[in-house]
């Protein structure tokens, strides 16, 4: 049984078809990459799979449930299981770093004590190697550091699916290698990764199903690891 299924999904923006009648399936524990030229509809496709934007036509299913028809309770479970790292980090500018990571914990673990919630936040910050002041605002950090926080925010609730939109862009080699190591561990636990990346190194590390996205259309392509090497 597929974890995600897209059926005939279309998304239009200002009368342009960004995604045009796309159908695809994603299995549990798999790695899926959306590849293609800029402006081809990759991010829109990824956001529709993650239930962040609603398709104009068609349906997206997660564990056979239409994600746009889920009840509030089902939606919360879905959001806890599926985390998203945005291309531009998309941290909440008017909140501190600790508040940025703490909010998902407060939403998904409302019954644990504040101390334990903060403990979770500190633990995930250690994992992503963020060691600066937790009371800074996102604007006080570099783009790479913001990416670390975005990654920490995505991982803090222990998701089983990760959506990554150019997650290693603006990272230095050390941070990028650390991310790759964390993602390998994430994969070992049988979790699912769905990503967009223009980094050859990242694609080499996480090869799987490759979907070519061009002008809103999607085509499943076979991937040759030797080409990437």
């Amino acid at each position: 049984m597929s974890l995600f299924e897209m059926k005939n999904v279309t998304f239009t923006s200002r009368k342009f078809e960004v995604v045009d009648h796309v159908s695809l399936m994603i299995a549990k524990g798999s790695v899926t990459e959306f590849h293609g030229p800029s402006g081809g509809g990759k991010s829109t496709l990824l956001k529709m799979l993650a239930g962040i934007i609603i398709p104009v036509e068609g349906n997206v299913f997660y564990k056979s449930k239409d994600i746009n028809l889920m009840s509030r309770q089902e939606d919360l479970v879905f959001r806890k299981e599926c985390a998203f790292v945005f291309q531009d980090s998309a941290l909440w500018a008017n909140q501190t770093i600790i508040q940025n990571i703490l909010l998902p914990v407060q939403i998904h673990y409302p019954k644990i004590t504040k101390e334990k919630q903060i403990e979770k936040v500190k633990k995930i910050c250690d994992i992503v190697c963020y060691n600066k002041d937790m009371n800074l605002r996102p604007a006080d950090l570099s783009a790479g550091e913001q990416k670390k926080i975005a990654f920490a925010r995505a991982l803090v609730c222990e998701p089983s699916v990760l959506f990554l939109d150019e997650c290693t862009a603006s990272l230095d080699d050390n941070a990028s290698n650390n991310f790759i190591r964390i993602l390998h561990e994430f994969m070992k636990e049988g979790n699912t990764i769905i990503y967009i990346s223009h980094s050859e190194k990242f694609r080499w590390e996480f090869s799987g199903n490759l979907y070519e996205v061009k002008n809103g259309n999607v085509e499943l392509q076979s991937i040759d690891i030797d080409d990437l090497r």
Partner: protein
Amino acid sequence: MFEAIGEFVKNKIKNILYAFGYIGRILTSSLSFFSKGKPSRKIFIMQLLFTFVEAMPLVIVVGLALGSVIYVIGYPFLQSLGQSSVIYSLMVLIISRELGPVLVAFIVTARSANAISTEIGGMVSDHEIESYISVGVDPVEHLVAPRFLGVTASVFLLNLYFSFAGLLAPSLIVQLINPIAFNDYFLGLFQNLTIRTILVSCLKSLVFGNVISICATYYGFSVERASTEVPVVGIKAVGKSMLFIIISDVIITAVSYI
């Protein structure tokens, strides 16, 4: 041409239905806000700070000035007509019931409607709203409900302060132009300050608070992607808030006199 008119009408109807749905979502989210809006309570408190506490000095000064002006100009004029006792009902009518709530609403619109719409618009263009959705936070529950309640409570409280300042100021001014006992002044006021006047004033301030917060958040969310849209929605939010304040004021005033 007919196709274009049809498309225009269709979009207008769609927008109106969307707006009603949006208002419904705000009302339902606000009803359950205090029972489950723990992470949003800080936003509510901050909204009270920005809209109520920080605007209070300005509102009090405007109230004091307006009350004084009405008395200074109105009293000699009414006295010349032999109707000096009408000054109390005139003051209550203008400050508490008619001009006061509208003036307070305009001050809040100028200060907060623009701030809220540009803040939310900025969040949309920076993908912060998508980021809220991705972690399971409902933007209406988390961002709109506290602002709706905060702005409504602020307009209500500011209106009370405005009335208080506007009616109190002449008690001092009166000593300069027509010295009478404080007791007589307040007795004259309270005789004209009816329950109906207070209820209409409170109703107006609550409705105006709703109008400001709904317009500000609605236009904030109407930003699609470009940061250049943000100041435009700020202008629209202020303009539409003022328009709907005047329309709702006319309706409430008309109904209250029936």
